[in-house]
């Protein structure tokens, strides 16, 4: 089960955070800083899976952005690694501009893909379909 999903930039600022298990708000910042620290301190040749407390962290770097997913023990790390890439591809297809200014849309996409910690949909077309409908509605 996915516990949380974070998008962080290189300076350590959180760009997107979604928790699938309740965490206190002050603990969230603490968790984020620690997680980010451990991911940022790793170099390129090191492997992308870290063990942190009772989670496993799987992270992937895309230019200046780190995507970190925290899972519990039962998940297949490599599948989640693949999933992160899938997510980024979806974002790529939808957003022509920089992502960060349309945070709510990113949330929508993420909600389409992950529900309560489980992967729902991985097909790009199907994920983006509702969003495209939404866009058409708001334009009209």
């Amino acid at each position: 089960m996915i516990k949380f999903f974070l998008m962080v930039n290189k300076q350590g600022q959180t760009r997107l955070s979604k928790y699938y298990e309740h965490v206190e708000i002050n603990k969230r910042t603490l968790l984020e800083t620690e997680v980010i620290k451990s991911c940022l301190s790793r170099s390129n040749e090191q492997c992308s899976f870290i063990e942190y407390k009772d989670f496993k962290l799987i992270y992937r770097q895309y230019a200046a952005l780190f995507i970190v997913v925290g899972v519990n023990d039962t998940e297949n790390e490599m599948a989640i690694y693949e999933f992160i890439h899938n997510f980024v591809e979806v974002l790529d297809e939808y957003f022509s501009r920089v992502i960060m200014f349309n945070l709510d849309k990113v949330h929508i996409i993420l909600d389409e893909m992950v529900l309560n910690g489980c992967i729902v949909e991985t097909n790009r077309a199907r994920i983006l379909a509702p969003l495209q409908i939404l866009d058409k509605m708001s334009e009209s």
Binding site: T14, H85, M100, L103, H107, L115, N116
Partner: protein, 795 residues
């Protein structure tokens, strides 16, 4: 509203533009004030924008609870954009602990039944994230209806909401069990994916569900087979593998179903083999599927051939250049090594290669796996590799590596010399990271290998001459040099030719004594070693006497006491010096004693009943002081594993083995002096003061005994070593009490000529009132009593 409202994008830009934390906080606070004002009396059309901004601010960590009621209002609004933000807000801001969450139950219910898909989707999403138990119960029927709707978009969400509901309210699983069978027939991958997740959840919750779903194994196998064999449809394939996510989920479900169940496992065997061989491994997606397959094979009752296949796949992973895959492979191999040891052995060279990784998590895994793979046939090669690793590994791994090497060496050492070499090497490399009993083990090992005394003392001497900073090494070296100093000077050992002058040895020991890096314990060792050398080295002992007298005024109490005693030994008892400083008798026991010893010291540390027992000892000595007749006999606690404590101090535990010379105890004329000498002996022979803090029996040299033999006759002495019956600890076992018992047995004993000794307990490092000198004086009184042969007073 005078100030035009910022759009979310502008707000984000502004926040990012803030250069300092304080500036950012200012911007946010200002904005929050606006948002609050707007909520109170603002334009309902703009409300969703405000809430969106608030959510962003919340994500950055600022409090946003005043937005909760707004979420409710937005959810209730008929406009989709409002609902969207409202539901998102509900997901982020509300949760079970706030009472407000129940208020949205009604809204959700309405939305779910309205039949507008996106809205239903939203509602389901929120429900699945933050639905509490009450909400779930209320809305279960709604969700169930949605499970069977034709629209796949809603259905998959409904299924995952069902998963969440089952987690919250396990009783609901009955409702959601029947539809699963039908759902498995779907072609839509999204629905399938969710269904499988649901089935997994159900199976984990109840064994009845597990049995129910086992019937579906053939169907699942069929689905997976279709995925693997048919050409990948473009819509689901990820880098050439058709829907790896679905494959992984199915495999995981098969794992759960096949665990501990022969029949299902058999059905799966073929398929697993097929997946394992057909999957394209050039990309990560394929490897992910393969990894899951391997995990499944390991968990179910698979055929032996299949298991070997799994191990081989893992071996192949180890050779992959991608670090992630290697990490995953090492972890799985670690799990496998217990059950399929021989299969994993075949990949040993690759595992050893992985030790050289720069990545910390990889090298740690590789270390664990390598240690698990050491056995008697490959021990030399493996330990060599591990030693090479020890030299270069990061600090946090050193302790584990060092203790792992020592443990493996102990279990599988082919020869004693190799063993000693290995331990020496580890000590030089990573001495400071070792456990405390490593020193004890090594001294015991060296002491036991008589033929290697010369060799070991030379090696230790050279090591010490090179570096005096590693404390365990220094301690062992000092002890050895003290014991076998004469062998060091002989210079005719073929293997380690080394010309050493007596003066050099003394100089080295003095250096250790004076060095800042030496711990007090180490200094104690060094001083004792110097003292022993006074008999072993030729020539007069002027230098040694000088050193010893200097330390008579040392600040460290322990060291001072030793020095004073040694000094007195030089001055008053020079004729007995040789006898006292004799070589220690060799220890017979080996490894298992270590555990007992550890147990002993642990029990010693944990013994609360120390108090009453100790006070008994106090009483005992007091009584002795008062020459009272009703000296308490110490409780007859079992003699047994004092054998171990005794062992610590190099006393043979079993009845005299192999004709080693027995130590006999003798008393001098002046009881005072006897005790003094005995105390000296303690200093000299006890290399392990930190390990045995409470009491130290004394062993007196044979020469000593012979010179005073006649005096022994009228006194009560008692067997020094018991026939050890290990494990028979007395009920209130404390080292003191049981020690008393082993050395003060009840009843008079006559003096058999062979196996006897005198033992006297006293405390050197204990939490008792008074310093050692107190005990010394008590002891003196006590020994005076010994002159009077008394039937009841034990010695």
């Amino acid at each position: 509203m005078v100030v035009p409202l910022l759009k979310l994008q502008d707000l984000i830009q502004e926040i990012r533009g803030a250069k300092t934390q304080a500036q950012e906080r200012e911007v946010i606070q200002k904005e929050c004030a606006h948002i609050r004002a707007s909520f109170r009396d603002g334009d309902p059309l703009q409300r969703h924008r405000q809430l969106a901004k608030l959510l962003y601010v919340h994500m950055l960590g600022y409090p946003a609870h005043f937005g909760q009621m707004e979420c409710l209002k937005l959810i209730a609004s008929p406009r989709f954009t409002d609902k969207r933000v409202g539901y998102l807000g509900a997901m982020l801001l509300l949760d079970e602990r706030h009472d407000a969450h129940l208020l949205i139950t009604n809204s959700i219910k309405n939305d779910l039944s309205q039949g507008i898909q996106p809205v239903q989707g939203l509602a389901l999403c929120t429900l699945s994230t933050m639905g509490s138990a009450e909400m779930c119960r209320d809305l279960a029927t709604e969700v169930e209806k949605l499970l069977l709707q034709p629209s796949t978009y809603v259905r998959k969400k409904a299924i995952l909401t069902a998963v969440h509901m089952i987690r919250k309210v396990p009783e609901l699983s009955d409702i959601f069990l029947p539809p699963c069978a039908k759902l498995l027939h779907e072609r839509h991958h999204g629905v399938l994916l969710c269904t499988i997740t649901l089935i997994m959840e159900l199976c984990e919750r109840s064994p009845a569900a597990l049995r129910h779903f086992r019937k579906m194994v053939p169907q699942l196998v069929q689905i997976l087979r279709m995925l693997v064999t048919t050409g990948c449809s473009t819509e689901h394939s990820v880098s050439g593998v058709s829907d790896p996510f679905l494959q992984v989920q199915i495999l995981r479900l098969l794992r759960i179903l096949g665990r501990n169940h022969e029949e299902s496992s058999e059905t799966m065997n073929d398929l697993l083999a097929q997946v394992a061989t057909n999957t394209d491994t050039s990309r990560n997606a394929g490897n992910a599927v393969l990894f899951e397959t391997v995990l499944t094979i390991m968990d179910i009752h698979s055929a032996a051939g299949l298991r070997v296949l799994a191990v081989n796949i893992l071996g192949r992973f180890l050779l992959n250049s991608d670090k992630n895959i290697r990490y995953v492979a090492l972890m799985s191999l670690l799990r496998l090594v217990q059950s399929d040891h021989s299969a994993v052995q075949r990949h040993r060279p690759t595992v050893v290669e992985c030790l050289r990784e720069t990545d910390a998590s990889l090298s740690r895994r590789a270390l664990e796996l390598s240690l698990a793979l050491v056995n008697s046939s490959n021990v030399r090669a493996m330990i060599q590799e591990l030693q090479a690793f020890l030299e270069s590994c990061p600090f946090d791994l050193r302790a584990d590596c060092a203790s792992g090497i020592l443990l493996a060496a102990e279990r599988f050492a082919p020869t004693k010399r190799w063993h000693i070499d290995t331990i020496l090497h580890v000590l030089t490399m990573a001495g400071t990271h070792l456990r405390d009993d490593a020193v004890a083990n090594l001294t015991q090992l060296i002491g036991g290998a008589q033929e290697l005394h010369a060799y070991s003392v030379r090696r230790l001497y050279s090591a010490l001459a090179g570096d005096i900073s590693q404390q365990p090494l220094v301690q062992v070296a000092a002890w050895c040099i003290g014991e076998y100093g004469d062998l060091l000077l002989e210079g005719n050992c073929e293997v380690e030719p080394l010309q050493v002058e007596g003066e050099e040895v003394l100089a080295l020991l003095e250096k250790v004594l004076q060095s800042q890096m030496s711990l007090p314990t180490t200094r104690g060792y060094a001083l004792t070693a110097l003292m022993k050398l006074s008999t072993r080295l030729p020539g007069d002992n002027y230098r040694i006497r000088q050193v010893v007298s200097i330390y008579g005024s040392c600040m460290d109490v322990e060291l001072q006491q030793r020095a004073v005693e040694y000094n007195t030994l030089f001055r008053k008892y020079d004729h007995m010096r040789a006898a006292i400083l004799e070589k220690m008798p060799l220890v017979e026991q080996g490894g298992p004693q270590v555990d007992e010893e550890a147990k002993e010291s642990k029990e010693a540390a944990a013994s609360v009943p120390t108090e009453p027992q100790a006070s008994k000892l106090l009483d005992l000595l007091d009584l002795l002081d008062d020459t009272s007749e009703d000296a308490q006999h110490p409780p007859a606690l079992n003699p047994s594993p004092e054998g171990t404590l005794v062992h610590l101090l190099d006393l043979p535990c079993a009845p005299p083995p192999l004709g080693k010379p027995q130590e006999k105890g003798v008393l001098e004329k002046e009881g005072e002096n006897v005790l003094f000498l005995l105390l000296c002996r303690v200093r000299l022979i006890c290399p392990f003061p930190p390990v045995c803090p409470y009491s130290m029996p004394i062993l007196v040299g044979k020469g000593f005994i012979q010179s005073c033999h006649s005096l022994l006759a009228p006194f009560r002495v008692f067997p020094l070593f018991q026939t050890s019956s290990p494990g028979q600890q007395g009920p209130a076992s404390s080292p003191i009490s049981s020690h008393i018992s082993s050395h003060f047995p009840i009843g008079p004993q006559t003096l058999p000529p062979q196996a006897l000794g005198i033992s006297c307990s006293f405390y050197t490092k204990c939490s008792f009132p008074g310093t050692s000198s107190d005990w010394l004086s008590r002891g003196r009184h006590f020994s005076l009593k010994c002159q009077m042969p008394s039937h009841t007073t034990p010695i």
